[in-house]
C-alpha cells in the first residue's frame, strides 16, 4: 500500500502474465513486484480479465452457413470463370512488367533518338503543345537546357504518346465506387477539370455500383489528370484498364470540334465495383491519394511540369523507379539500375563518337 500510482510499464506486466518476456524483463518484473503492492494489484486485475475472457465459449457457425457458403462459392466460380485461369496472375503483374520494361527501354529509346534523324512527327507534336499552350513561355525549354536538341527529342517522343491518347477512357475497378468518385472529384478539382456528365448506377440496396464521369480539362492539365487517375489505380492496387483505341473511334468525332476550338480535351473515367478486392486496404490508400492530391503544392508543381513536359517524363520514370524499388528486393533493383546506367552511358558515348 506504499504506492497509490506507479509508472512501471503496464505492457511489461501484461506480457509477463503471458510469459512473453525475456529473461531479464522477467527478473525486472519480479523484482519490482516484490516492492510494489500497486503493481501486484495491477497484475492481478490483468489476470482476472484474462481469466474471465478465457471462459468465453467459442462460437460455431449457424447450421445453414456451410450450405449457403457452398452455393455462394459455386455462383462466384460461374460468375468469373476467367478469374481462375493462369492468365490472371500475369495480368495482375502487368503494371510491374510495364515498369520494368520502361526502365530497361529507357536507354534504348535514348539510343534510338540519337541514331535516327531528328523525327518530323516529333517536332510536330512539340509545336502543337508549345504554340497552343504557352506561346510566350515555350522557348524556355531551349534556353533552360544545355542540350536542347536531345531533350526535345525525348520530350516529343512522350508527347506523341500523350497526343495519341488525348481522348480516352480509363476503367477503374474499385472496392467502393462512392469513395472512388469522391477521390476523383477531389482530383478533378485540383486541376480545374470540369465534370461534363456524370452517370451513376445504384443497386437495389442503394449501393453505388458503377459511375461514369466525363471530365473536360485544359490540354496542359490533361497529363496531370490522367496521371492522377492512373495513380489512383496503381496506388490503390486497383485494376486499371485503359482502352484509348476503342474509345477514340467514338469519341473523336464527338469531341474533335471542341478540342480544336478551345484546346481542351476529355477523359472518361468509369468506376466499377470489384468484388475480389480487399476493400479496407484500398479505401485507406484511396483516401491517401486524395490527401496527397489535395496538398496545395502538388497541383502547382505538376502544372508547371506539364508546361515542361520532359519533367512529366522524368516524373514518370522516377515514379516507375520508386514503384519497382518498393516491390523487388534491393539487390535485383540495384543490378537493374546498374544495367540501365551502363546502357545509358554507352548510348551517350555512341552519340558523342557519331
Amino acid at each position: 500500500m506504499r504506492h497509490t500510482t506507479c509508472d512501471f510499464p503496464g505492457e511489461l506486466l501484461s506480457a509477463y502474465l503471458d510469459n512473453e518476456v525475456t529473461e531479464s524483463e522477467s527478473a525486472r518484473v519480479r523484482g519490482h513486484l516484490q516492492d510494489c503492492a500497486h503493481c501486484r494489484r495491477r497484475l492481478e486485475q490483468l489476470r482476472e480479465t484474462r481469466e474471465i475472457l478465457s471462459e468465453v465459449p467459442s462460437q460455431s457457425v449457424p447450421s445453414s452457413f456451410r450450405r449457403q457458403l457452398r452455393a455462394d462459392l459455386l455462383r462466384h466460380k460461374e460468375d468469373k470463370p476467367g478469374l481462375r485461369g493462369s492468365g490472371s496472375g500475369w495480368l495482375r503483374r502487368m503494371p510491374m512488367v510495364a515498369a520494368v520494361l520502361l526502365l530497361l527501354l529507357l536507354p534504348v529509346a535514348g539510343l534510338y533518338s540519337h541514331v535516327s534523324a531528328p523525327g518530323e512527327p516529333l517536332m510536330m507534336s512539340m509545336r502543337a503543345v508549345g504554340e497552343d499552350d504557352a506561346p510566350a513561355d515555350a522557348p524556355q525549354l531551349e534556353s533552360a537546357d544545355p542540350e536542347p536538341e536531345t531533350d526535345a527529342q525525348m520530350l516529343s517522343e512522350v508527347l506523341r504518346v500523350d497526343e495519341a491518347e488525348r481522348s480516352e477512357s480509363i476503367i477503374l475497378h474499385v472496392a467502393d465506387v462512392q469513395e472512388g468518385t469522391a477521390a476523383l472529384a477531389a482530383l478533378a478539382d485540383t486541376v480545374d477539370a470540369e465534370v461534363q456528365s456524370h452517370e451513376q448506377v445504384w443497386d437495389a440496396d442503394g449501393y453505388l455500383k458503377e459511375s461514369e464521369s466525363l471530365l473536360q480539362v485544359d490540354s496542359d492539365s490533361y497529363a496531370i489528370l490522367r496521371e492522377g487517375v492512373l495513380r489512383m489505380g496503381t496506388l490503390a492496387r486497383q485494376r486499371v484498364e485503359a482502352d484509348p483505341v476503342v474509345h477514340r473511334d467514338e469519341m473523336s468525332r464527338e469531341f474533335a470540334a471542341a478540342e480544336e476550338a478551345d484546346q481542351r480535351t476529355h477523359l472518361r473515367v468509369v468506376m466499377m465495383v470489384d468484388d475480389e478486392t480487399i476493400s479496407d486496404v484500398q479505401l485507406d490508400e484511396l483516401c491517401l491519394v486524395r490527401t496527397q492530391l489535395e496538398e496545395t503544392t502538388f497541383p502547382a508543381q505538376l502544372r508547371e511540369a506539364a508546361a515542361r513536359s520532359w519533367t512529366v517524363f522524368g516524373a514518370h520514370v522516377a515514379y516507375a523507379v520508386l514503384w519497382i524499388a518498393a516491390r523487388i528486393p534491393h539487390l535485383i533493383f540495384v543490378s537493374l539500375l546498374v544495367v540501365t546506367v551502363i546502357f545509358a552511358l554507352s548510348a551517350h558515348r555512341r552519340k558523342d563518337s557519331a
Binding site: T5, L13, T49, I52, L53, E55, S58, L74, H76, D275
Partner: protein, 203 residues
C-alpha cells in the same frame, strides 16, 4: 492430401478443395467476427464475406505468410470494414438530433449491443463481456479477442494485424486494463474476487 496440393486445386477454382482448405477456420472466423461485431447476423455476413474473398483472392496468396495468418488478416479487414460502414450509418442517423444537442449526444450511442444495466440484471456474463468489448476501441478489441479468447501467440497476432510485437504488447495491456475497468463497473468481478483485502484505487 497436403495443404499445398489443396491450395493449387483451390486456386484452379475447385470448390471442394477450397472447402477442405478452410475446414476448421469457419468457426474460428465466425467466432472472431462475433466478438468484434457483437451480433450473430453481422458475424455471419463477415465470415461469409471473408471466405468468399479468400476464395476469389487465392491467386494473390503466395505463401509469404501462413494460410491461417492470411485468412485471419482478411477476416480482420472485413470486420473493420463493417464497423466503419456501421459508424458511417450511425453518423447519418444521428445527424438531426445532434443539431439540438450539445454535440456529446453521439457518444451515448456506443453500439447496438444491449445496455450494460439490462445485461447485468439478466446475469448474463457472456453478454456483458460482449458489450464491454464493444466499448473499447476496435484496435484494442481485436488484439484482446485474438489473444485472450482465440488464444493466438503474440507473434501470430503481430503477423495477422501487421503490427510490431511491441504494439501488440501495449495494445493488449491497454485493452485488458480498460476492459477490467468496464467489467468492474458492471460489478462482474464481485463474486469472483480473489481474496484480496486491499482494494480501492485502480490503475
Amino acid at each position: 492430401m497436403d495443404e499445398q496440393r489443396m491450395l493449387s486445386l483451390a486456386r484452379e477454382g475447385e470448390v471442394a478443395a477450397f472447402e477442405a482448405l478452410i475446414e476448421g477456420y469457419e468457426d474460428k472466423i465466425y467466432s472472431l467476427a462475433f466478438r468484434m461485431l457483437g451480433n450473430s447476423e453481422d458475424a455471419r455476413d463477415a465470415a461469409q464475406e471473408t471466405l468468399l474473398k479468400a476464395y476469389s483472392g487465392l491467386q494473390r496468396f503466395r505463401g509469404d505468410a501462413s494460410f491461417s495468418t492470411w485468412i485471419y488478416r482478411i477476416a480482420k479487414n472485413v470486420c473493420l470494414d463493417i464497423l466503419r460502414r456501421r459508424s458511417k450509418q450511425r453518423t447519418y442517423s444521428l445527424d438531426e438530433p445532434m443539431e439540438l444537442g450539445d454535440g456529446e449526444v453521439s457518444r451515448q450511442f456506443a453500439g447496438d449491443m444491449p445496455a450494460p444495466e439490462d445485461v447485468v440484471m439478466h446475469g448474463e456474463v457472456r453478454d456483458s463481456i460482449n458489450s464491454a468489448l464493444a466499448e473499447i476501441s476496435e484496435h484494442h478489441r481485436v488484439v484482446i479477442i485474438l489473444r485472450d479468447i482465440e488464444g493466438f501467440t503474440y507473434e501470430e497476432i503481430a503477423n495477422i494485424l501487421e503490427i510490431e510485437l511491441g504494439t501488440v504488447k501495449s495494445r493488449l495491456y491497454r485493452a485488458r486494463a480498460s476492459l477490467h475497468e468496464i467489467l468492474s463497473e458492471m460489478e462482474l468481478f464481485r463474486d469472483r474476487a480473489v481474496g484480496q483485502s486491499e482494494g480501492g484505487d485502480d490503475g
